[in-house]
Amino acid sequence: MPFLSRLAGIVATLFLLSIVVFCLQLLLPGDIASILAGEDRSPETLAAISERFGLDQPIPVQYVRWLGNALQGDLGMSMRFNQPVSTLVLSKLPVTFQLATMALIFAILIGVTSGIIAAVFAGTAIDQTLGVFSILGFSIPNFWLGILLIMVVSVQWGLLPASGYVSPFVDPWQSFRTMLMPAFVLGSQLAAVLMRHTRSAMIEVLHSDYVRTAHAKGMPRWRIIIKHALRNALVPVVTLGALEFGQLLGGSVLTEWIFTIPGIGKLLVDAVFNRDYPIVQAVVLCSGAIYITLNLLADIAYVFLDPRTRRGAT
């Protein structure tokens, strides 16, 4: 039953989102028909366009038609590229996804590992040093870090490419190299956040009664840290990480722009500048759907990690 109510919640959220997205185009300045018409703004052309795009219909009718199409995967035509929006979005999605996934992996590797170390050595110089890095990681703006890395690593040292994109299916190694800096930049905030959360969760767990029990059982220290403490500490951290993946997708807009990566973010920015509304709508709608899906996945991960919640879920 809780699952069904969750599902109903998701459907309702998506429905609301679709209304908001649809209304975006109504709020925008200028008459859509005249934008579409371009140079030729004769009444005949405008009427023809209105009729073709259904702009002469009452707004609720327009919405229903738009939603019906959207549900069938038809999000309209890009005004600029004259291609179906869905094709465009789908072709850019993997790029952004790769970037965000790599950023997430970096953030987890760096954040969780340094969080564990900081907790195990809490109060020592090691902990304090890591704390400084976490503050830096959190407060340095992405564009600044990105530009700094490009200047030092790419321009001065010539180690990594400064921009562009290579598909991992074409050249996995080159793809990894190109994505390395952007993913690091995109994941830096999250790494800092995860580090602080892992640290405090670990410190709490390391002081728990069951960790004391594990010591009394004679278990070795590192086994206790990994097997007994980490799993319990990770329950809240993983949930946070998965939720933040949505933020990473959002944050990729700027990062893609800095490193000229042809992903969703760049598509969105270009579309906004060119008033290519169908693309803007599609990107917002997709982001919303992805965000909600991630929430669901976070809950599933939570259930997987914490046996206490398993009962209620099934």
């Binding site: 009664d209 069951y210 029990t213 010591h215 059982k217 004679g218 278990m219 097997k227 046996p307 206490r308």
Partner: protein, 345 residues
Amino acid sequence: MDDTVADETARGDMTGIASEPVLRVDGLSVEFLTDPGPTRVVSDVSFAIGEGETLSLVGESGCGKSVTVMAILGLLEARRSRIAARAVRFQGRDLLAPGGKALRSVRGRGIGMIFQEPMTSLNPTMTVGEQIAEVLRFHLKLDRKAARARAIALLDRVRIPRAAERIDDYPFAFSGGMRQRVMIAMALACSPALLIADEPTTALDVTVQAEIFDLLRELQRETKTALLLITHDLGAVAEMADEVVVMYAGRIVERSPIAELFVRPEHPYTIGLLGASPEWQSDKRRLTPIRGRVPLPGDRLDGCRFAPRCPFVVDRCNSEIPPLAEIGPLHEAACWRAPLDPDQP
């Protein structure tokens, strides 16, 4: 500590126990490094437990019973506490040896421990079977299958119904009493020579308390494990203990064989404790419940720490700490007025 060597010769005879004790604690003191400065919560505590014996540690809440046993097992946070002792030896091994190697080989293997809080002492993300099997696999090097079979047998032995099914359950599916049984199974998994039970029933319902004590008694009879039992339950002490150590504000105030203690308690605090306990009415020397409160570890007191509450107090009590002195066979009390004459308070 320069007295470790001298101590070697004193071993055995100071405790008065014939056989080589399983655990011998000599002059244990514990300080916590708190904000205003170090606070001593355990001072100069010595006791020994012989093979298969039961020693009971009693005393009011906060007198340092848990800290004493945690210090023995090295479970206190090293950066916040300081432990000093002439010796802490388990089967001849020095548990305070630097590096903690002896300690780690003894924990869970030679000494099993049950804690005061059954609800939080088990790991919520591991099944009880995994938690028991872990000890068996690590210490006895059993393989997965053998460890599991043994874990089921252990659960069965601590009277958990349908042990073979319950083994894959997580702790949340067990009641407090059942969790404490799981803890007992875990502590006894490697057939330790000593079981330390720190108030194993305090957090449980009264009916469950009796069951747990029954179980402990029965298991002890079967396994011949020595038992260090911390409890407030003087009824259980009377039934289970061979020897009783009474602590007050971090110090031992009286040590006595069980038969003596209830008949002839010598320290005014012990007398008060027996009088205050509903389980035991000592008719000869009935005192009203002990007045006043336990001094806090930080409180400055020059003499006997019980003096402010003691009905037998004399001038000397406020200036000099009474040493633990023999007042009968195997019976010691730390009181200037022992042996007491109850008719002259």
